[in-house]
Amino acid sequence: MDYTLADLQKWGDKIEETAKGLGLDFFPQEFEIVNYEDMLAYEAYVGMPSRYPHWSFGKAYERLKTLYKYNLSGLPYEMVINSDPCIAYLLKENTLLLQILTIAHVYAHNDFFKNNRLFKEGTDAKYTVESFKNHAAMIRSYINDPSIGYESVEKILNAAHSIKLQITRTVGEKILTDEELRQKLIADYKKKHVNYSILEPYKPLEPPDLSKVPLEPQEDLLLFIMEYGELAEWEKNLLEIVREETRYFIPQIETKIMNEGWASYWHYKILQKLELPSSFYLEFIKRHNEVVRPVLGGINPYFLGFEIFKDLAEKYGQEKIFEVRSLERDQSFIRKFLTQELCVNLHLFEYVKKGNDYVVEEVADEEGWKEIRNTLSNSAGMGMVPLIRVSDMSRKDKTLTLEHVFDGRELQKNYMEETVKYIVDLWGHPVLLRTTLNGKNTTLVCDENKKIKYI
């Protein structure tokens, strides 16, 4: 360690002052200096100081450790969680300059958490740490309950984790009650009835089926199962916990590129203003370039986000980027602001898999760049998660029908089968999944005994 806590405090204060001067607006900030092992653990638990026990976190830890051991992934310099006060972990082994750069980076994340619409509407920063702690305590109490125990809890968690991302995607959207939905369907029907076109022959409209469950396709699988399934109270609570924690992470998933780009943009700006001693300057430039360099064949979110924000600031001024960081998410950010010029400068290309080869499909020319932009936008954030929703539940035999909203991308078959089996674990009755495989409409049927067939 080539620094003391007092050094960090001194630089931290200076950085905070500078960040404020530049217009960043953040929660109170706390830093914790941790060693390498602790950092791995924090990463495995996605930064949460307290988390319920599950083997998948152990697996994440082993995986991260292996990746670092074989140098497949860089050391984590920092980890920030979206809470008020904002908590960040700094790696003890960092050099002083690296700590300075990281602290500046953290302040920008903090600003992003406080001001981006998705975080503002979708999470409650004041209670973040506390609610994760409560969840952990509750799950531990089920594990210690002799009538439940570790394995029963694990079984439910395994299943809940498998569909945790099958959740409402619109952050902050109000969930309508069944009664409200019914009113809406009736109103829509009436409106259509009145507004039919006089130029077309009259066709009687089908009235909406108001006894159907669900009334409209339901994207929130865990919520649906909690409501209509036959689960015990403690099982429902587990699902609710998994669901709530997922909702906390959705804004992070949805803004990865923006968030990292924003933080990189500002650590660069702040460090330029800090009047660093010349001995630090070279390391600063070197480290910064390491963070925002392109990954050959892939997308480095730090790099892409940084370049777009830089481009926006140059073209439209600082006001504009503050507005963008408040309103957008990765999908809209890319769709609106990734220009052809940027696609060319960043050497972006689109590839597809043909046989065993990855082949370049589009390059950033006049026609190609739009394809590239759209593909990137469609696969950003939750765009990488297939949309599966509940379309019907049979009242007679409780068969659950799911539909995969097909957008040209097919599901991975093995993962699909195993996930449906998990759903049967929770549902207890047959589950159907309508999807498209090899270009054909197919329905997967999984019975109570987890036997799978296709029809």
Partner: protein, 388 residues
């Protein structure tokens, strides 16, 4: 102003419990795959440290993900043109394989275990207690290493220090001499060791011939030996080989496969050969006797022969089989017959063996299911330790 703290308010190494559970699940998954490992991999004659890759089932975190036919975007160096091939998917690590936000495929698909791990798991799976190796260790004590001369390469513990110094002095003298011959009056100061000076003791291993053992595995590979039978046969031979290895420094294994004819085969062939048609057990025994006569003089070798079959022999061969079995008993330390998963009818051949073969070093056993393996082995080894 920000707060900086130099400690973690949480307990040390919080991931311990979840990592333990993860490892436990991994091991369970390995155990579930043991049948595959035992019937697919060459393990019987291999070294303890051989690593075997096995797929781990049940540890993937399944969820709905897109398949591989999904387009991705990457950044390049500007030289990419439409139609360029930028990577392959042989091991999933192509250049173009890290699409934006593309996470699937990150799971650990397989793990490596050593033969020793497998023994460990197998014993656990069979609920076998670990054997006390001590019991046999005295017998091993006579192995000896004799120093004989020096060599330039070797391991550190065998460094011959005196000899190395001598080599260095020789080199120094030679340097001085050649300097003098060239009439250069140069003072030689520090004169460090060089790689070339190092000498190691050459060690000759002297093996006592009578410590050698050979295990002759004879298996019926006729059509009636199915996968389940082979799993049991393989586990049986594997464990047996492990036991014999505890007693001898040098254990060789010979595999003889027979249906109506017998052949010496490799381990791989031994377990993968499927022949159709009938069975002449005698052919296997005859082959074993030939092998012994050619390569393993009973005066120098401890010979263990075991025959595994489902007992489905052609009756005209029975008398011949008994005759050869008796001959085997004469040359072997131990000759065993293990009958695996006999059919509904009681087998004649085992019955006949018990009736006709009275040699004290002959054993028979029946294995119906994996739980029988341990009693069967104990039964056989009891016999052998009495001999020993």
């Amino acid at each position: 102003m920000a707060i900086f703290r130099d400690f973690s308010p949480i307990e040390r190494d919080r991931a311990v419990e979840d990592r333990r559970r993860h490892r436990q699940l991994t091991e369970e998954s390995i155990k579930r795959n043991l049948a595959d490992i035992l019937s697919e991999e060459s393990i019987i004659g291999e070294s303890k440290n051989k690593k075997i890759k096995i797929p781990i089932r049940g540890l993937k975190e399944y969820r709905f993900i897109y398949g591989k036919n999904v387009p991705g975007v990457g950044s390049g160096d500007g030289s990419e043109k439409k139609g360029d091939v930028i990577g392959h998917d042989d091991n999933g690590q192509g250049k173009g394989n890290n699409g934006a936000g593309n996470e699937p495929g990150e799971d650990i698909y397989e793990t490596e275990v050593t033969i020793e791990d497998i023994i460990h798991y197998l014993f656990e799976d069979l609920n076998l207690p670990f054997l006390e190796r001590k019991k046999f260790s005295e017998i091993l004590s006579e192995s000896s290493h004799k120093r004989s001369g020096y060599q330039k390469k070797g391991i550190t513990p065998r460094l011959a220090k005196k000899r190395t110094v001598v080599e260095k002095i020789k080199r120094k003298q030679a340097t001085i001499k050649s300097l003098r011959e060239a009439e250069l009056e140069e003072e030689i100061g520090r004169f460090p060791f060089k790689e070339d000076d190092l000498r190691y003791h050459r060690v000759k291993e002297t093996r006592k011939r009578e410590l050698n053992a050979v295990v002759i595995c004879i298996m019926d590979t006729s059509g009636s030996m199915d996968q389940a039978k082979k799993y049991l046969a393989r586990s049986f031979f594997f464990l047996l080989h492990q036991f014999i290895k505890m007693k001898y420094l040098n254990v060789e294994v010979v595999f003889i496969a027979h249906s109506t004819e017998a052949k010496v085969v490799t381990e791989k062939e031994f377990f993968h050969k499927v022949e159709s048609g009938g069975t002449y057990i005698s052919s296997g025994y005859k082959k074993a006797l030939e092998v012994i006569e050619q390569a393993y003089n009973p005066a120098f070798w401890n010979i263990y022969a075991f025959h595994v079959s489902d007992g489905d022999n052609w009756s005209e061969d029975d008398n011949k089989a008994i005759e050869y079995a008796k001959k085997l008993c004469e040359v072997c330390n131990l000759f065993g017959y293990a009958e695996i998963l006999p059919g509904v009818k009681p087998s004649n051949i085992k019955y006949k063996y018990i009736e006709k073969i009275k040699d004290h070093n002959f054993v028979t056993t029946t294995i119906d299911k994996k739980e029988d393996l341990w009693p069967a082995l104990k039964n056989i080894l009891k016999k052998d330790s009495k001999e020993g």
